[in-house]
């Protein structure tokens, strides 16, 4: 909404500190959604190396992918992607329940549960993801 002056200037505290569970869930879901769609685009771009590879033995495709996979940064990003995807899924499930009108009063708890579960799953899969990266 338009404001005749900038209210931000006089606010000595950031509003985000005061966000409640539902708002954080919304922010995270949005963020993760955008990351995922962004990833989908890059993913397809990378996989496009399969097209020139199709005729031959798949050299370009394999080298591109394995080359990328050798980079530590890519591995770490992959873990990040996992975290993002897992959170988006779990919170997505939470939202689907909310849409069905189930468990509305526990919406904050289910959000915290999504966070905790995401954390757990990500930690658990770190070994698999980082195998051979270092």
């Amino acid at each position: 909404m338009s404001q005749s002056y900038d209210r931000g200037l006089v606010e000595d505290f950031g509003r985000w500190r005061d966000f409640s569970a539902g708002m954080w869930a919304w922010v995270f879901h949005k963020f993760t959604g955008w990351v995922l769609i962004g990833y989908l685009f890059t993913h397809i771009a990378v996989l496009s190396t399969a097209i020139p590879a199709a005729g031959g033995t798949g050299g370009i495709y394999t080298t591109t992918l394995q080359g990328l996979e050798e980079l530590v940064i890519v591995r770490i990003l992959e873990v990040g992607l996992l975290a993002v995807a897992v959170f988006h899924i779990l919170n997505g499930v939470r939202l689907l329940f909310v849409d069905l009108g189930v468990g509305l009063t526990a919406q904050d708890k289910s959000f915290y549960a999504s966070l905790v579960l995401t954390g757990a799953i990500v930690v658990a899969s770190v070994p698999t993801f980082l195998t051979g990266a270092f």
């Binding site: 959604g33 995922l36 769609i37 397809i44 399969a50 199709a54 992918l65 698999t128 051979g132």
Partner: protein
Amino acid sequence: MADHYSSFSRHSTGWLLQRLTAVFLIGVLAFHFMLLHFVNHAYEITFMGTQARMQEPGYLLTMVAFLVTAAFHGINGVYNALVNQGLEGTQRVVVKYGLAIAGVLLVAQGIRVAMAMTGTTIL
């Protein structure tokens, strides 16, 4: 009431499809992750392996469906997010078609890639 017979004229469609695609995606995305990161490791990926999987018609179809739903879900999601922030008028029309075109290109390219993976090159 009388003047609408199809849900397509309604804003509920987008909302409903977003949820339905989400339900589908839960399954496939989990499957995808399991298969490519835990069963087969990403760093071991080779074209051969990919080709082997993709030549399975069921798998191919699933992956294409995955692509289409994810593209719809993601792009519709982005569009909604923008509209929720008050995107209006021409800007909105531009964004809408921009996103739609991007989505179509994504899916087209994705299908080309998928076909290539089976070994057939199209276009």
